[in-house]
């Protein structure tokens, strides 16, 4: 097994800032900008409490959809005003129309941000519940635990908060039951008798990071591997070339538990896989770092909102897709000569760091002339895509470097289209089984664009069988 990586804290690791200014995180995020609403002031008196309204979130979704429709109208008006302005006789009229359009644009943006802001609630709501649970559990199990909460004021989409409480609860139960040692053991190893669980939340760009950190016993990698093999979750051969991260990720496998008998707290082997699935449903990822004797830190990376996102439009084999900008680090031109093959997997070196790459056309079965042909290209006049009909423009292959949490992957696309703010909508239940697509959005001309689920794609590519060896190399 590889030695424990020295950088235990993923937060301490320097994050690559978006180097391409065009792709820089837009600053008009609701929480980044001052509130568009006149606030109640500093004193949260009884009066301000009575002035709140409970609203069904579907009503907000409905409003958001209307704003999305308005944004489409705005695009059409912009094109129209351009045409009018270029008309020799109606130039003056066009200028007026353009001024009007700008005002409309400003108000619409305000409205969009306003609705988004309404959806945002502080994470403190969940944290309070957790604090109660921690007190209760520590009483029942005679483990003294101190819960330290920071960043309770961090705001996140209401829907995410609702879905977050169960996974967080589970992680904290795990931290108490598996992590924090009993009082006597702690005294024996020279730790303070009262264990500490730190719950830390903060915003980073368009993401909210939530870390659950305990100062308990940590996870022993060799024990995790041995348990997984014994329970038949992985084979002996698999176990040989696991990276440290993959070893920790073993706890997410369904049926994994190190406990021989289930307690009322844990040990049933369901739980962490549910945690991971629930977080993934919200478009987030969970990263684990652990050091024996020092503690375990689990970091959840979540998007701030599910409602509106900035995306980078890309084109792959005539189909256009949108990549959420929140997970795009940068986009660079693809230089085929630097692409190397590792056991059928491709990677390139980017500024001295190995970057695994994945061809979107390949994983979506869109390769031209490939044996995967025969995909249901939309028939005849229904032909989904105008770009497929015209003469094909020469492709300018690019690598869109995406990162979610600690994982990075380069997506090879034919062309970059541009940046756009979109209202994302979930695909219908009939397409729930489709992996790699987070949702869809309406484009200006009645067409629908698909939004990639970057977290799922990265997970899929990096965790596939042959990738194991490679990620190991990539991280050392």
């Amino acid at each position: 097994l590889p030695p424990v990586a020295p950088s235990v804290s993923p937060m301490a690791a320097p994050q690559n800032p978006p180097t391409n200014p065009r792709l820089a995180t837009p600053s008009d995020r609701p929480s980044a900008s001052p509130s568009v609403f006149p606030g109640p002031g500093q004193d949260l008196s009884l009066r301000s409490v009575s002035q709140t309204v409970r609203v069904d979130i579907r009503k907000l979704d409905h409003l958001m959809n209307i704003v999305g429709e308005l944004a489409i109208v705005r695009g059409r008006v912009a094109r129209l005003s351009d045409r009018v302005r270029n008309h020799p006789e109606m130039h003056q009229l066009g200028l007026e129309l353009q001024r009007l359009h700008r005002t409309f644009d400003r108000h619409l943006t305000q409205m969009q941000n306003g609705i988004l802001e309404v959806r945002m609630v502080p994470l403190g709501q969940v944290f309070e519940k957790l604090a109660r649970v921690v007190r209760q559990i520590s009483r029942e199990h005679d483990k003294q635990v101190n819960l330290v909460i920071t960043g309770a004021e961090t705001e996140i989409d209401k829907l995410i908060v609702e879905e977050l409480s169960d996974p967080l609860m589970h992680m904290i139960r795990n931290a108490i039951d598996h992590g924090i040692e009993s009082r006597d053991v702690r005294m024996a190893v020279g730790k303070p008798p009262v264990g500490t669980i730190a719950l830390n939340a903060f915003q980073k760009g368009n993401h909210v990071l939530l870390a659950v950190e305990d100062d308990g016993a940590g996870m022993r990698p060799e024990l995790l591997v041995a348990t997984a093999v014994r329970r038949g979750l992985i084979t002996q051969e698999d176990a040989k070339d696991l990276s440290l991260r993959e070893v920790f990720n073993l706890i997410f496998l369904p049926g994994f538990t190190t406990k021989e008998t289930a307690t009322d707290l844990s040990g049933r082997g369901v739980g962490m896989d549910v945690v991971k699935t629930n977080i993934a449903k919200l478009g987030g990822v969970v990263d684990i770092m652990s050091e024996v004797g020092i503690g375990t830190k689990m970091t959840i990376t979540l998007p701030i909102t599910l409602a509106i996102i900035s995306v980078l439009g890309v084109e792959v084999a005539g189909h256009s897709f949108a990549v959420p900008l929140a997970s795009v680090e940068e986009a660079i031109a693809l230089d085929e000569s630097v692409v190397r093959n590792f056991e059928g997997r491709e990677a390139m070196t980017q500024r001295g760091v190995t970057l695994p790459i994945c061809r979107l056309a390949r994983i979506f079965g869109l390769e031209t002339g490939g044996s995967l042909g025969g995909h249901p290209q939309t028939p005849g006049s229904l032909g989904g895509h105008p770009q497929t009909t015209g003469a094909p423009r020469p492709a300018k292959p690019c690598v869109v470097i995406a990162s979610v949490g600690e994982r990075r992957l380069g997506f090879v696309v034919d062309r970059l289209i541009g940046q756009e703010d979109i209202v994302i909508k979930a695909l219908g239940n009939s397409l729930r089984g489709v992996r790699g697509i987070a949702g869809a959005t309406e484009l200006g001309d009645q067409r629908v664009g698909l939004v990639l689920d970057v977290a799922a794609l990265i997970e899929e590519v990096l965790s596939s069988e042959k990738e194991r060896q490679f990620t190991l190399e990539g991280r050392v």
């Binding site: 189909h319 869109l366 006049s381 219908g428 239940n429 009939s430 397409l431 790699g436 629908v448 698909l450």
Partner: protein, 177 residues
């Protein structure tokens, strides 16, 4: 029977009502053609008939799914009904239509057999041509078993209006699978 039908077309309300009384309760069916055959579904299960809109292909979707389209801001998954029923495919032409099925419509919402995950979802069904609405009496519907023993679940029966022969489809198994 034939005389009744003729009188219904030419005659007044009285005769039509008498015919209705003769034949019992009626159900409205929307007839459409698929690969040259006439099919029909209960009109209560169809929310809307649309001319084809741009459809976006979805990678990794089930084979029957053509893609998704946006109908007034609502995402709709479009299923190729010909492919779903194992019929010959033909290129789309000017008569191609998309039927929006609404499984939440009164006819299907509470029905047994609807998989819960399909509730609240509108599915678009691509058909070759929409023909007309038939009001079929119970006596004009033959059970699917007349075609032989084992018929697929989505065949609800045979409709026999005076001038046509319709294969009646049950949308529930189609949408569920």
């Amino acid at each position: 029977m034939a005389a009744l039908t003729r009188r219904r077309h030419g005659g007044g309300a009285g005769t039509a009502m008498r015919r209705a009384a003769d034949l019992g309760r009626r159900t409205e069916y929307l007839a459409f053609s698929l690969a040259g055959e006439a099919y029909a579904v209960q009109i209560a299960h169809i929310a809307e008939i649309l001319k084809p809109l741009p459809i976006t292909w979805v990678p990794r979707a089930p084979k029957n799914v053509i893609g998704v389209m946006s109908v007034r801001g609502r995402l709709v998954t479009v299923v190729d009904l010909r492919k779903r029923l194992g019929l010959m495919e033909s290129p789309a032409d000017g008569r191609t239509r998309i039927l929006l099925s609404d499984v939440t419509s009164p006819g299907l919402a509470g029905a047994r057999g609807v998989r819960p995950q399909y509730e609240n979802e509108v599915i678009g069904l691509l058909v070759d041509e929409v023909m007309q609405v038939y009001r079929l009496a119970e006596s004009e519907i033959e059970p699917a078993s007349v075609l032989g023993g084992d018929q697929p679940a989505h065949i609800a029966g045979i409709g026999r209006p005076p001038d046509a022969l319709l294969i009646l489809l049950d949308l529930r198994p189609i949408l569920a699978g």
